[in-house]
């Protein structure tokens, strides 16, 4: 799960991570009030969307840039008006862009130098790891490739946590000196506390800045949370913004279906994550293009199967549907009944290819045969994918 910059800022404040003061605004009036409240000489107005590259982005109304400086509260209000309700296109949003419903009004700081600082759960070492660089505000992957000597890594013991000496070591490696070392290391320690307390899988501060006044501040951050742990963080779960997500995925999540939207034309319904991924792979292998990843899970009910069908059919790009079930715990007759029920309630006007195998497969096949549904049956996974690709070509 991702969150907005203004929400990240609130978490920083909660955990004592030094960051410029700021407030979110969803109307121009709120923007004016927020800018006045900061009582700062200059403020920055930032469009709030879940995508990077905002500063260099373009609004569909022609306004350039989703990040601007304002010298007065009135100027901030003016900028907010130009962004709110408009669609911002950046290199990460795709052509369709993202609707800006909120802006962040924050005090502007004079930057002396930019750095990069991240904490992530490193699966190979099975412990948190810090990655920091003296080159901030840029693409860290590029720095890692071109100047690996400017990237510093620190592994953290799962039981001990980040130690003060480690925080000082990173501060020193980044080039901080004198009082800056204490400022930077307390920021790192607070950030680690946040990372562990909130069950993050990644926190990336880019840039971390040294101001001309000598302060060390987290300017912008990207958070990833462990979805498995959200049950114990209702406050963070509440930060989810469905408007930033694929509407198909939001709909699927209501029914506990594991769905990820893609761009192809073959809708897939599969049980099990590995098999669902492989079904996408084999469709590509046969020259087709999957419209989605969909794992209905090991214990799907007839209703879930029906809802899954509705979501697949609601996608206008879908020209054929491939159902691939290997019934283990999932019984084939339950899936078959779900398909039959769905076909009764929705208008099934595209080819449906079904491959069933496993528990109660004979009952499942019999149900489908007796239903009179116009469907294409397949013998195995390869056969199913070939038939699905053929069906879209004929369409």
């Amino acid at each position: 799960m991702n969150i907005h910059e203004y929400q990240a800022k609130a978490l920083f404040e909660q955990f004592g991570v030094a960051t410029p003061r700021g407030t979110a605004a969803s109307t121009k009036e709120e923007a004016l009030e927020a800018a006045r409240g900061l009582n700062a000489g200059q403020v920055v107005v930032k469009a709030q969307v879940h995508a990077g590259g905002r500063g260099k982005g373009t609004f569909k109304n022609g306004f350039q840039g989703g990040v601007h400086l304002a010298d007065s509260p009135e100027a901030a209000q003016d900028l907010a008006e130009k962004m709110l309700g408009q669609v911002l296109v950046t290199h990460q949003t795709g052509e369709e862009g993202k609707l800006v419903r909120q802006v962040l009004i924050a005090e502007s700081v004079d930057i002396a130098k930019e750095y990069y600082f991240a904490i992530l759960m490193d699966r190979e070492s099975e412990r948190p790891s810090i990655i920091a660089s003296s080159e901030g505000g840029v693409d860290i992957e590029e720095v890692a490739a071109s100047q690996p000597e400017k990237i510093f890594k620190e592994a953290i013991h799962p039981a001990l946590g980040l130690q003060a000496y480690q925080a000082r070591k990173i501060a020193s490696q980044l080039g901080f000196t004198g009082k800056q070392i204490r400022a930077a290391s307390s920021l790192f320690l607070a950030m680690y506390d946040l990372f562990i307390s909130c069950d993050c899988s990644m926190v990336e501060v880019n840039p971390l800045v040294l101001t001309t006044g000598g302060d060390v501040l987290a300017l912008d951050a990207k958070f990833n949370f462990d979805d498995n742990a959200l049950f114990r963080h209702p406050d963070i779960a509440a930060m989810r913004d469905p408007a930033e997500e694929d509407p198909r995925e939001v709909e699927a999540s209501k029914f506990d279906l594991n769905y990820i939207g893609l761009d192809g034309n073959i809708g897939c319904m599969v049980n099990g994550a590995g098999l669902a991924m492989s079904t996408m792979d084999i469709i590509k292998h046969c020259g087709g293009d999957p419209a989605n990843f969909l794992d209905v899970g090991g214990g799907a009910t007839e209703d879930q199967v029906k809802e899954a069908f509705r979501i697949l059919l609601g996608d206008s790009k879908v020209e054929a549907i491939l159902v691939n079930i290997f019934g283990g715990i999932m019984q084939c007759d339950v899936i078959a009944q779900g398909i039959i029920n769905a076909a009764k309630t929705v208008d099934l006007n595209i080819p449906l290819i079904v491959r069933l195998e496993g528990t109660n497969v004979e009952q499942g096949r019999a149900l489908l045969n007796e239903s009179g549904l116009a469907l294409i049956t397949a013998d195995d996974l390869g056969d199913a994918a070939r038939k699905a690709v053929e069906a879209t070509r004929a369409a």
Partner: protein, 291 residues
């Protein structure tokens, strides 16, 4: 005839009275697995299905029944605690079926596991089966046949697919190990590969991986150095978009690492036959074995 589990395995089930715990314990018993104990805190003294004594703690279950393996069905929020309890009681083999355990919890479990002799399999896995002898987990028993081919997999249904392809071609399995789909988990591909390499009753094995992490590459490097048996592999997720979690928490390409292409290259380099399509996992191994 197998690795890790056989006719002598005495199974404990943690979370035996829960809905899925009950269902799958019954399935395992029907398959012939010796289920000797269950644990549900507060339900000690009860009897499951009129046969299996239920205890409050794993320590009591171990002392009373001599159980040497446990199957964990405890809900995700409490599962890490149950795994640690099994370690503490000295259970030799801990198989965690539970899906959705927080990564931080598993980080702590793994940090603790270096102080125990227990072997952890999973979590978020289908379990382990030695066909005809012992089934511990949620896999459908009937698709398996006793035989001499090993299967290692991060995915449940993809394991069934591979097993089915083997069984329907008349080739049985020595043992099938589901290592699970979480980013931090117990037994690795490499450790499982090592078991099958050393098992005199396994002739060849299939390794089923997926995008994310570097375990498949590590297993490939180990196999290249140490394993003479024929090995086939399949990697799921070649077409998955980067940065998205594909169902399994561990199936994610991040920072350009964990791609299917990199894994396939490492496997091929180790002399492993890589199936291009999931429908060819069984056939690829059999061809590689020359049978």
């Amino acid at each position: 005839m197998s690795v890790l589990v056989d006719n002598n395995t005495r199974l404990l089930v943690q979370g035996i009275t829960g809905k899925s715990g009950t269902f799958h314990t019954q399935q395992c018993m029907d398959y012939g697995t010796q289920v000797v104990a269950g644990v549900t805190p507060g339900r000690g003294g009860e009897t499951f299905e009129e046969k299996v004594p239920v205890f409050d703690t794993v320590k009591e279950a171990r002392a009373e029944t001599g159980c040497n393996a446990t199957m964990v069905f405890v809900p995700a929020a409490f599962a890490a605690d149950s795994i640690l309890e099994a370690f503490d009681a000295g259970i030799e083999l801990v198989i965690a079926i539970t899906e959705g355990i927080p990564v931080m919890d598993m980080m702590r479990v793994k940090a603790a596991s270096c102080h125990t002799k227990s072997i952890l399999i999973g979590p978020n896995c289908p379990g382990i089966i030695t066909p005809g002898a012992c089934k511990i987990g949620i896999m459908p028993g009937y698709i398996h046949q006793p035989g001499r081919i090993g299967v290692i997999s991060r995915s449940g249904t993809l394991t069934y697919e591979a097993v089915w392809q083997l069984s329907s071609r008349g080739h049985g399995q020595s043992t099938c190990i589901g290592i699970g789909g979480d980013p931090i988990h117990g037994m690795t591909h490499q450790q499982a590969a090592q078991l099958f390499t050393e098992d005199p009753d396994t002739d060849a094995f299939i390794l089923i991986g997926e995008i994310g992490g570097t375990e498949e590459e590590e297993a490939a490097a180990w196999i290249k150095e140490h394993c003479e048996k024929p090995v086939a592999a399949f990697i799921a997720g070649a077409t998955a978009p980067p940065g998205r979690r594909m169902g399994h928490a561990g199936a994610i390409i991040s920072g350009g690492k964990g791609t299917a292409a990199a894994k396939k290259e490492a496997l091929l380099d180790a002399g492993i036959a890589v199936a291009e399509s999931p429908s060819e996992m069984g056939a690829t191994l059999l061809k590689h074995m020359g049978v």
